[in-house]
Symmetry: C2
Subunit: 475 residues, 2 copies
Amino acid sequence: MALPSFTDDFPGWYQEVVRQADLAENSLVRGTMVIKPAGYAMWEAIRDALDVRFKETGHQNLYFPMFIPLRLLEREKEHVEGFAPEFAMVTHAGGEELAEPLVVRPTSETIIWDTYAKWVQSYRDLPLLYNQWANVVRWELRPRLFLRTTEFLWQEGHTAHETEEEAWEEARRMLEAYRQVAEDVMAMPVFLGRKTPAERFPGAVETFTIEALMRDRKALQAGTSHYLGQNFAKAYGVQYLGRDGEQHFAEATSWGASTRLVGGLIMAHGDEKGLRLPPRVAPIQVVVVPIFRNDEERARVLGETQRLAETWRAAGLRVKADDRDDLRPGYKFADWELRGVPVRVEIGPRDLDASQVTIVRRDTGAKSEVGLDAVAATLTGLQDEIQRALFDDALAFRDAHTTRVRSYDELRDAIEDPGGFVIGGWCGDAVCEAKVKAETKATIRFLPFEPEPADGPCVVCAQAAVDTAAWAIAY
Amino acid sequence: MALPSFTDDFPGWYQEVVRQADLAENSLVRGTMVIKPAGYAMWEAIRDALDVRFKETGHQNLYFPMFIPLRLLEREKEHVEGFAPEFAMVTHAGGEELAEPLVVRPTSETIIWDTYAKWVQSYRDLPLLYNQWANVVRWELRPRLFLRTTEFLWQEGHTAHETEEEAWEEARRMLEAYRQVAEDVMAMPVFLGRKTPAERFPGAVETFTIEALMRDRKALQAGTSHYLGQNFAKAYGVQYLGRDGEQHFAEATSWGASTRLVGGLIMAHGDEKGLRLPPRVAPIQVVVVPIFRNDEERARVLGETQRLAETWRAAGLRVKADDRDDLRPGYKFADWELRGVPVRVEIGPRDLDASQVTIVRRDTGAKSEVGLDAVAATLTGLQDEIQRALFDDALAFRDAHTTRVRSYDELRDAIEDPGGFVIGGWCGDAVCEAKVKAETKATIRFLPFEPEPADGPCVVCAQAAVDTAAWAIAY
């Protein structure tokens, strides 16, 4: 079935791509979703890429319970206020009413830092470099598949350190891990920066973010890393005997990325025909479509298709041979284009007569005929090429939708057209930030890591700028 | 700290090993646990071994929400009756009382089959071969770390098929996958068989099981696979247009294995000194302990330790160099023995003078000196050898604790001594089954796949035996 227009009805396009490509669907409970095999395979690729980087940087996985006693959450005031409206609460269990309600974790700082109090006695116990893969629940009023769901899958890293410096470094190191996965694996260019106080994680001293641009020119926060200072150590009593013989509160970070990234993948690369998947996260990298008109051709082509697919698999490619009998080649072409498979190989009797196949790139539509001897090498080379081309294409799109402005009029115009990121001076006042949000819906997505007084005044109030802000309308 | 006696106080030994080896600990909410990094790494190894076998047999992963509306669960009567006493229920969310309580999944047949009704229209949509990795909640009155916890991690496979035969084959195929992981990866021999009606999964037509023997002579159900017939298809309306042009209900299986397997690993192989980990699941396969008496020796030995550890890592081994300065070698030896690392390498100045190291096996305590040139090959060979030796040792233990009996007196005696599995004729009557349970605490752990009238009468009532039952006291 035809997709809604990618340019005129992006939300409709997104919804239909997710449905027709079998990525996910709404489930019975408001805001919850079933992640279908094709969508889950994309998440597995992202998850594995993150997990290997966490382990390379010295982190270990563990697992904390998802039920958190309400009183425990209430100990860090700013944190609980940020999340309380989204709590889901268990009040009955084992056939009885519980003495105290349990909150299904919206994030795990509270239960983890309460436990760290037992694990940390001395500087010798530090750092703690732990991560968990888990489901979390935040009750959503305006859910959207992958992007905002009541239950979602994520990882949350929670580290404890001796010094402020070490914790800052950790928060930045994990932001870099997110950047690598976004850019090098998902082929999705991201800006890195700092959040404003209004956009910070509840309970954080500083929140770092990676921000990507979607094809509807809206920004997507794709991963955040927080320097939490001693806020949680103080709330949960995590003190250690320092090298100086004194008691100190531990320094904290936390960092998370979620199934929302699957939504980012769809919206960063899609086109009128559907998904375009970067080869490194594509569950199927090469689809082979056999072409025949009668039973004799069928036998010959199917046999060769299976044999060739096997040799390409042996070359390390994830290959699917589409031998469905009840569908025409044209339907299959459109179907695999919708599903974003990076390369299609067509094999017909005339191809076999000429000892060749036809290869079609999903990203550009470019078609070429390749001799059988060279196909494995061509397919392998194409994976790298398409990976790079999708990144370059997304980067060019972002460049075309990043504007520097010097006045409020310019800011408003740029948010309208070309959209995307609009960069200009900011006085640092939350009032100016709120005004832009109220009048244009754009929020400050990030600030540079260190304040950079802009070349020009605050674009909102025209007072002196103390920083350079990047505004965008965001998911 | 010394462990409680492995032979006289096995429960105390288990609890202390879990604590001292940093595998897990109780969390705030009754029955919930924190899985610590060392325990989680064991779970990751088991999980990966299962996941690869699921994928090899054509299954894909997906993810269903954990919240299930109560009314949905109530549609399969036998199923809901089995699980209702253990439900945890969410009654409030987003600051409001919900119109309908949500059950936190104890298992997902209901929500999955309700969704399959949308996915299955024709025989062309079958089979569905899906699995999910998830957390589940069953309120536990007598929790025990890893073995019975209120929240646990597991996988649950849920498949839909055209024919009864295909579904039976699937249920048996996945039992075989569990057997492979238990025996070939965890080095834990298991018996395979069928459950009695009293021990079946609520809603199943037939439950298959793998049953292992722990070192206290108690049995552990280590994985189950269920043939569910059309029970769930009928309750949730999953019908398909068959090849014959008629509507049919789909045939179902489900199968699950959980973090309980980590408990099995501990109890199947442990000894007085602590864990003994099979190399294939050991997060650390080789620990290197440097030995020195002064700063000069220290510099030399530590340098060589790091260099050698790196070469052994390059040979594909998971190697940890224990360079902690504040601990004596003897303490380190005991610590790594407790944690079950399969092989210890000791490196001292005299070893280096002789171009050799000392290698100590955790399973046997055997000590040998090996020239530097041969260490990598020796360590690699030892992994296979220890893997096999642990399996053989567990098998010999099980053989010594499996008894065939012909009368009730023999049954009672054998359950007492030697304990373990006691095998004898059974008339098939639940009354006899209940009597043994009430009088000896032993339950029927499994029956052969096909009924085997035993050589002798029912050991309980002396009537004709229609089957051969294996009794044991179980976790």
